[in-house]
């Protein structure tokens, strides 16, 4: 194989990390929402897409990219709060399928609303000027923006970790992910916790969408593909485990990147086959709770 040097493979690895960073941000929200609320959020991809479009909209109003990094997760997170409160909360206790089905229908509605508001062919999204160009990372030139994405993902993860480990609200979330019943028995307002978890998860998904926009532009359908792939990540990592989502997200990113090097046609199949295998051998994934949802 021509040109298969160490440099190339190392570069490919970095590419995998950048790819994985987006997966990780997206999958964290999905995993959190499932772990706490036991809701499979089929609308998660739509929130991702809305994040990108809200960013586009803010930019068109004259804002800058840095402002969007803060505003987009807040705005879309708030939308998430509203969705949980009024659309999903009524369905708890009706059976595991109902919230799933609702979010499924919701994704259709959200995508179509965006199409109505912004048109159907999508828009380009320019990389912010400060982040354009490539840097020499020793093994070759690597786009600066992708390094930025890795950095942001790491920062968000750190922030999330601190929040979960060091604050009392974070403690409740962790406890609730481990055993929702006990937490309720202890008198915590579980409903409010779930509300915020859904909001946080949606907000982070929106941030992922915003970060992905300069890489691939924005179209209304951009959420659907990443959702299917993110299910792989959450399943492999373990539904409900943040650490699992991180490791699995990076793993999937690197796997896709490496298979693209040797056999690009197999890249997509390989991750779904991986998902099927994990589900059959160890359904809770690497780090998930065993016996979840039997």
């Amino acid at each position: 194989m021509a040109g298969m040097s160490f440099d190339l493979i190392a570069l490919q690895l970095f590419t995998g990390l950048a790819l994985g960073a987006i997966y990780v941000l997206f999958a964290i929200g999905l995993s959190l929402i499932f772990g706490m609320l036991t809701v499979v959020n089929f609308a998660h991809g739509a929130f991702y897409m809305v994040g990108a479009y809200v960013g586009l909209f803010l930019l068109s109003l004259g804002g800058n990219f840095w402002l969007c990094l803060v505003a987009v997760p807040l705005i879309v997170g708030t939308i998430g709060l509203v969705v949980e409160r009024f659309l999903i909360r009524p369905l708890y206790g009706r059976g595991i399928d109902y919230p799933l089905l609702l979010t499924f229908g919701l994704s259709y509605v959200m995508v179509e609303l965006i199409r109505i508001a912004f048109g159907k062919s999508g828009y380009p999204f320019d990389t912010p000027e400060l982040l354009q160009g490539a840097v020499n990372i020793g093994v070759g030139y690597f786009p600066l923006y992708r390094l930025f994405v890795i950095g942001v993902a790491a920062a968000v993860l750190l922030g999330l970790w601190l929040f979960l480990e060091r604050t009392s609200f974070g403690l409740i979330i962790r406890a609730g992910a481990r055993d929702p019943q006990i937490v309720r028995v202890l008198g915590v307002n579980v409903a409010r916790v779930w509300l915020f978890v859904f909001g946080i998860g949606s907000g982070i998904a929106a941030l992922a969408g915003l970060l992905a926009a300069p890489l691939q532009g924005v179209i209304p359908e951009m959420g659907a593909t990443i959702l299917a792939e993110a299910f792989v990540v959450t399943v492999v990592g373990g539904m409900g485990s943040i650490g699992g989502a991180v490791i699995a997200g990076l793993l999937v990113g690197v796997v896709v990147s490496m298979t693209s090097l040797f056999a690009p046609e197999m890249a997509k199949v390989s991750i779904f086959a991986l998902m099927a295998i994990v589900l059959l051998i160890r359904p809770q994934g690497f780090f998930g709770r065993a016996g979840l949802m039997s």
Binding site: G3, L8, G119, S121, P124, A134, G140, L215, G217, P264
Partner: protein, 417 residues
């Protein structure tokens, strides 16, 4: 479980339900009444195009252009006074839906012709339905397979370019100017394979060295895994054979990776609407092909006439490349009917086969063995700064004149001579 006695209420409620549903059923049946009974004499042209989905913009332009063709035909008196009308349907870029719509157009609307659609799989599906029912179909988007004996029928016409022709034309231009070491980045489906085949056939005459052909799955949003490998090989030319959004993303990411500094990027097709959607940066310096660009109106009289008519009917807009195909697809069939003086299918087929026309881009005719429109291919390059208004996005670098030599041979397509 006790059944409460509710007296006459339950009976009347049930009766109400039954009558209501019967009423609804009857109310729905007016759909069966042919509202166009009064206009039974019109010539109906079915037009299934993907109004919803990622190519909605292109499809709507095709509708606009087709309307121009219909209007021109009607104003010129139609066929002995019989006017034409366009029946537009949304095929949602889905072959199954397209087949259903085609069935509706043929079985319920009783169309005389069908023109459409925008995607290889969809046009092949429509073609399969029309040829079984002996309805003439003119396909207005790219495909190599529709010319092949397996899918072809005497009712099938193909106004659009073929991947082989387009790639060949662009290849012949690029390989003579930009170098001999070529890397290929190809979408892994029929269209991509057909394009690469076209490039490599053309490249033989120039002695190109094919360094690598990387296949990517359709719908890839991240090419970052594939681009470093290409850079490492140091090609003179990078040929990116994909379409629509795949192309826009690939070009953008190739730009991000700084690849334009060291190689020339070439694509078989550059869409007018795609260029407007993706912006100048991604397309900068990219050379590609197209069937039509409004800017040739300075040199081609029929283009000016078509553009002016389009501007008049559609608020000053200019037609796009795929839009123009919508125009030509409809016009050739209507003019064939006019020449035949009848709507009898075999007579119209013979008339269209004999047609030598110049409706919008220069001289064309249909090759007999596969009904492929033999036409010119424009080589274009994206402009970074539009000069004549926001639709001035391309420079025409060269025109490859129409020639059957550049098409795949009838034998290669499986047609018996």
């Amino acid at each position: 479980m006790a059944k409460k006695m509710t007296g006459s209420n339950s009976i009347s409620r049930r009766r109400l339900l039954t009558t209501a549903s019967a009423g609804a059923v009857l109310a729905a049946s007016p759909f069966r009444i042919n509202l166009l009974q009064a206009q039974e004499a019109t010539i109906k042209v079915g037009f299934p195009v993907p109004l919803t989905g990622p190519y909605g913009t292109e499809a709507q332009d095709q509708v606009r252009a087709a309307e121009v063709a219909i209007a021109e035909f009607n104003e010129a008196g139609g066929l002995d006074g019989r006017k034409a009308e366009l029946l537009v349907r949304d095929d949602k870029l889905n072959p199954g839906e397209a087949a259903t719509r085609t069935l509706e157009l043929i079985e319920k609307e009783k169309v005389n012709f069908i023109v459409g659609s925008l995607s290889a799989s969809v046009q092949l599906a429509v073609n399969n339905v029309t040829k079984e029912r002996k309805i003439i179909y003119n396909s207005i988007s790219q495909s190599d397979e529709i010319n092949e004996a397996k899918d072809f029928s005497k009712y099938t016409f193909h106004e659009a370019l073929t991947p082989h022709l387009t790639a060949g034309a662009v290849g012949r231009y690029a390989f003579s100017k930009f170098g001999k070491k070529v890397a290929f980045l190809t979408a892994d489906y029929a269209y991509g394979h057909e394009m690469v085949r076209g490039f490599q056939e053309a490249g033989k005459a120039f002695g190109i060295e094919s360094l690598v052909d990387i296949r990517h799955p359709l719908g890839t949003t991240d090419f970052s895994a594939l681009l470093p490998r290409i850079q490492a090989l140091k090609p003179d030319i990078l040929v990116i054979s994909n379409f629509g959004r795949d192309q826009q993303i690939a070009l953008k990411q190739a730009t991000d990776f700084g690849m334009k500094k060291s190689m020339k990027i070439v694509a078989p097709i550059l869409l007018y609407t795609g260029r407007i959607a993706a912006g100048a940066q991604a397309f900068e310096g990219v050379v590609g092909g197209t069937s039509y660009y409004w800017g040739i109106e300075d040199k081609v009289a029929s283009a000016k006439a078509f553009n002016d008519r389009f501007r008049k009917m559609h608020g000053g807009k200019v037609p796009s490349d795929y839009g123009a195909l919508g125009y030509a697809g409809v016009k050739t069939l209507l003019m064939g009917a006019k020449a035949a003086g009848s709507l009898d299918t075999d007579k119209v087929i013979a008339a269209v086969e004999a047609l030598k026309y110049d409706y919008y881009k220069g001289p064309e005719y249909y090759r007999k063995c596969d009904h492929q429109a033999v036409q010119s291919v424009l080589i274009i390059e994206s402009k970074s700064k539009p000069e004549k208004g926001e639709s001035d996005v391309f420079n025409v670098l060269a025109t490859e004149e129409p020639s059957e030599r550049n098409l795949r041979t009838c034998e290669a397509l499986g047609h018996k001579s």
